[in-house]
């Protein structure tokens, strides 16, 4: 449905998007995740036809986003990050205007408007001015406007930005509702947002794709660690007892208030179970163990690790694995 092939975008000296490629199948809900300035919004703007790529190809439904821009835009429902609206218009007036812009015939217009008003729970504010609406309602109007022509592709850029927690929950459940059989691209810099809603996550950082896959697939890239609590006299004593073990790549220790020491031991590979060798090492060193449990890296810390490092001077992107 959406396909990007080796897409680059430069703004003068700034290389904002560096060779991004991905392919989104119809019906997929994809989260585009990354810190601010990672190139997410620029990528989205190239898909919506707001700006052409410096090089590479962007296509939607087989149509080129630059050459067949108007046809592509007809297929997209887009909610921009700032959700800009005309403050002087009424909710119904704005939706009527959008319906007209998307070429919905007069005879179908009322039905189309009523449908999105229903879906986005706007019936109580239909005749209110946009300037007088709360942020949560404004966001729903933006969503309704993006849906007015029943587009097969829905692109939402930071849809919960600036909302309060109850509005966020509300908007999230609305988004899940709206997905249906649509292809959806949900841009966010907040992990839980996409983790809960999306089938697939694409992580952007420094203009390139750092990871691409299902949340489980991404988790499998995370580090496996073992948490140990033992009655070592000092943290160093515990480290020296464990350091010699094969398969251990790192140990972090902390002295606990009750005199015990906690160690977080990182394995070289995710598959090897370090619990048994650790237990043996502690027995050999005459240490008493009160806790020994495996711990998987959370998506959160994996994500933070993925987006941290700057790219090398070549700035080449790793080709994203399609799930």
């Amino acid at each position: 449905m959406i396909e990007l092939t080796q897409v680059h975008k430069r703004f003068g000296q700034v290389h904002a998007v560096r060779g991004v490629s991905f392919r989104i199948e119809p019906g997929q809900i994809v989260g585009v995740l990354g810190p601010n300035g990672a190139g997410k919004s620029t990528t989205i703007r190239m898909i919506t036809g707001s700006m052409p790529p410096t090089s590479g190809r962007v296509s939607v439904d087989g149509l080129d986003a630059v050459d067949d821009s108007l046809e592509v835009r007809q297929r997209l429902g887009y909610l921009p990050e700032a959700n800009p609206l005309y403050p002087e218009m009424s909710v119904a007036g704005y939706l009527r205007y959008r319906a007209g812009l998307f070429g919905i015939r007069r005879s179908h217009r009322a039905a189309a408007i009523n449908k999105v008003i229903d879906r986005c729970w706007l019936s109580e504010v239909t005749h209110r001015r946009l300037a007088h609406l709360s942020k949560g309602f404004r966001q729903r109007v933006g969503l309704a406007a993006a849906l007015i022509h029943d587009p097969p592709v829905l692109i939402l850029d930071e849809p919960t930005n600036g909302l309060d927690p109850s509005q966020i929950a509300e908007t999230r459940s609305l988004i899940r509702d709206l997905a249906g059989d649509r292809t959806m691209l949900l841009v966010s810099h907040i992990l839980p947002e996409v983790e809960r809603t999306c089938d697939r996550i694409i992580v952007f950082a420094w203009g390139e794709i750092r990871a691409d896959g299902t949340p489980d697939h991404l988790l499998s890239r995370g580090r496996a660690t073992v948490v140990l609590e033992a009655n070592a006299p000092t943290p160093d004593a515990l480290v020296s007892a464990l350091r010699a073990l094969p398969g251990v790549s790192g140990i972090e220790t902390a002295a606990l208030d009750d005199g015990w020491v906690r160690a977080t031991i990182e394995g070289k590979s995710r598959e090897t179970d370090l619990r048994e060798p650790i237990a043996r090492a502690c027995r050999d060193a005459n240490l008493l163990v009160r806790e020994l449990r495996p711990s998987k890296e959370s998506l959160e810390s994996l994500y933070l690790r993925l987006v941290q490092d700057e790219p090398g001077p070549a700035g080449k992107s790793k080709p994203g694995a399609t799930p």
Binding site: G49, S50, Y78, Y86, E88, M89, Y97, G100, L101, G103
Partner: protein, 237 residues
């Protein structure tokens, strides 16, 4: 085409939903009222010739106030992004905005019909030159709005768009009057082609010269086309 129409309608309506439309109409009525009052001289024939002759100056402040927000406001508020990602081409956007402003200009002229009623009551005016005078004002307004639209596409700031348009026509006015006199032949001949005042004088006198009509329409459309290109350029930058 439908997109162009919907953009024009929205634009037209928004003049009245915001205060700008009413302020501009009031300003135009005030300025025109002052000129009409000065034009009515006891014993002289009842004519608005003087009013139409000075339309170049009258509209100089009013038309840029109409055109300044057209695209600058869309850029400032960011709505240009939702507009630019709808299936409306840059040409539909430019022409839609332009026609919206033009419809407003025509609406703005309607209440000046009060002056005609007044004139009819106190005297027996000749409606021929008045009709051509109005035609001249509309054509002049078309030109002012098209240039104003282009300036509005350059900036996010309505004041900058307003002043840019104002300066553009002030410079044109100075060049075709003081400039033409100072430079003498053959420059004054060339500058006369660009002189809006000379063309307005013909309209005020009751003369319909096709070349004037063509001049205003062609140049206006040329500036609207430039605006469409300016929008396209923004995309490609």
């Amino acid at each position: 085409m439908t997109a162009c129409w919907h953009i024009a309608l929205r634009e037209y309506a928004s003049f009245f939903r915001t205060s700008i439309g009413w302020v501009v109409i009031a300003l135009y009525m005030l300025l025109m009222g002052i000129w009409v009052a000065r034009a009515i001289i006891p014993g002289e024939p009842a004519s608005l010739r003087a009013v139409f002759q000075t339309s170049q100056i009258l509209l100089l402040f009013v038309a840029p106030a109409v055109s300044m927000r057209l695209l600058a406001e869309e850029r400032r508020s960011g709505t240009i992004e939702t507009l630019g990602t709808s299936p409306a081409s840059d040409w539909a956007i430019a022409f839609g905005k332009y026609f919206g402003a033009l419809f407003f200009l025509l609406t703005m002229l309607a209440p000046t019909g009060l002056f005609l009623i007044l004139l009819e009551v106190i005297a027996d005016p000749d409606y021929g030159p008045i009709a051509t005078g109005y035609l001249g004002v509309v054509l002049l307004g078309m030109l002012y709005l098209s240039v104003g639209l282009l300036f509005s596409s350059f900036t996010q700031n309505q004041i900058v768009a307003f002043l840019g348009t104002l300066f553009f026509f002030l410079i044109l006015l100075l060049a075709t009057t003081i400039g033409a006199t100072a430079l003498g032949e053959p420059w004054s001949e060339y500058l006369r082609i660009l002189s809006l005042g000379a063309r307005m004088e013909d309209f005020a006198r009751g003369v319909i010269d096709t070349s004037h009509i063509v001049f205003f329409i062609v140049i206006s459309f040329w500036f609207v086309s430039l605006t469409a290109m300016s929008l396209e350029f923004r995309r490609w930058r």
